[in-house]
Structure formats: C-alpha cells, structure tokens
C-alpha cells in the first residue's frame, strides 16, 4: 500500500471520524453515479451507497490492503448495485460490446474525403481550435459545470460508469478493470467514447456555432 492510503486505512480502522467523514464526502458523489447506472431509481442508488458504506464500516478491520482501498470500496458498491439491479429487472452487461461503443468518435465530416488534398486529415474548418481560456480556468469552471453534468448524464450507462471511476474518482485503468470485471481494453474503449462526447460538449461551449 502506498503511504497515504496506509495512513488513511489506519485512521479509519482506529475509528477516526474525521477520516470517515472525508472519504464519505469525497467518494459518495461518484458512488451515487455508478450505483444509479445499475438500478432503477435514485432512491435505490442511495440505498446501495448507504449499504456499501455500512459494509465498509463493519469490514474495515478485515481489510488487508491486497487491493487499494478505493478498489475494495467500489467493488463492494458494484456488487451491491448489480444485485439490486437484477432484483429490479435491470442488468448492465459490461462484457459485451454494444452498438454505441463502435463507430467514429469525431464527426467524419470534419475530415477530408477521397479526392481532397489530404484524405483522412482535418478540413481547415474542422480542426479543433484552442480553448481560451481553458475550462480549467476557475472563472470558466463555474460556467462549464452545468454543461459537464449534462454531458455526463447523456452518456450511455456503461460509458458513464467508466468515466466516473477513471476521471471523477481517479481509479487507474487496472483498478477499473478489476472493479467492473472487464478487460483493460474494453474499459478503455468505453472511456475513450465517454471522453470524446464530453470533449465535444465542451467544444460546443467554445464554438457554439460550429458548422462543418
């Protein structure tokens, strides 16, 4: 275990309430998103997250750090969410490739076709333009927050789960594969498609009238 994680685990095992309040606040938003993709209602998702934390509280003493703490917590979450989803007649198959996971992620009309000077290259009006100021800029960040939330909501569920684990919760590719029991390649396909869509949403903020 890396030191920061080992310290956190030690604090949690010792009953440090501040440490528990911290992880509860830091991880619950992503947990709610991941749970919500598996079950029918927001209330169900909340229950799954609550049950997960209860299992974490009672199971922490037995946590030996063979996986990272977040991998352990999110694995519990995904198992509980799947079980709940099945009871509600919902399944979210991660192992198969769905139609929404194939095809180009950038509008093909932005690239030159056969008979043009550079087939497969950006058209002059199709190439991405710099984002100024960057969405990382504090002032812009507040404005783009709603747009990001909308873009994430609009993603197919499996893509939403993967981008949440990778880019919101910061799990590594290997950790996501472990939690979802899918191959690293499969999770990367889902992540790529998810990021491409969110990127396109951000682009619309910078070029509202993009016509190609």
């Amino acid at each position: 275990m890396e030191q920061a994680t080992a310290d956190l685990v030690a604090r949690l095992q010792a009953g440090d309430e501040d440490a528990f309040a911290e992880v509860l606040a830091a991880w619950s938003p992503a947990m709610l998103r991941v749970a919500r993709a598996h079950v029918s209602t927001q209330a169900s998702a909340e229950e799954v997250v609550q049950d997960t934390w209860l299992a974490v509280i009672t199971g922490l003493d037995g946590f030996e750090g063979r996986s990272s703490l977040r991998t352990w917590v999110f694995s519990i979450l995904v198992n509980k969410a799947k079980t709940r989803g099945v009871k509600e007649g919902r399944t979210l198959p991660f192992s198969s490739v769905a139609p929404e996971d194939a095809g180009p992620t950038v509008d093909p009309s932005r690239f030159q076709g056969e008979g043009e000077p550079h087939p497969g290259g950006w058209r002059p009006d199709g190439a991405p333009r710099a984002w100024v100021p960057s969405p990382e800029d504090a002032a812009v960040a507040a404005e783009v927050r709603g747009l990001l939330a909308e873009a994430i909501d609009a993603l197919p569920e499996r893509q939403r789960v993967v981008i949440t684990l990778r880019d919101v919760q910061g799990l590594t590719s290997a950790e996501v594969s472990e939690v979802l029991e899918i191959s690293p390649e499969n999770q990367r396909v889902l992540l790529h498609r998810a990021r491409a869509k969110v990127r396109a949403a951000l682009e619309s903020y910078y070029r509202p009238a993009v016509q190609v």
Partner: protein
Amino acid sequence: MTAPLDCVEVVELVTSYLDGALDDATAERVREHLSLCDGCAEYVEQMRVTAGVVAAGVEEQLDPGVRDRLLSAFRDFHRKA
C-alpha cells in the same frame, strides 16, 4: 515502413495514447504525427483537459440524513469495538 497515421485514425488512439497503452511502434507513430499536426495536437490536449475537468460535473452529495446515519454507524461500531 508503415504509412503515416491520418488524423482520422489518430483521434481514435488518443485515450490509449494518454494511458500509455499503445505498443511502442504505434506510440511513436502517434508522437510523430502530433509533432507535425496542430489539429491533432490540439485534440489530444483537449481530451487531456476534458479528463481533468469531468469531476466538476459530478457534485451531487448523499442526502444529509443518510450521511448523518452513516457517521453515527461509524461512531457506534467503533465505540463497541
């Protein structure tokens, strides 16, 4: 010698490239393309920035009642122990 990558191919390799998951030869072809193509370099940068800001769109917290119940459960569990 393999043909240079087209932009339309590079945009589909970005996530694998950023993850360091491409084989060495393909990664080198992508790097070479990016050094010559402003459009793709910008695209890669935007995908990197996107990954970094996604978290700002996920803020919804647990219901405060649930949060309080969990904090009490944590406290009770350790009081007993």
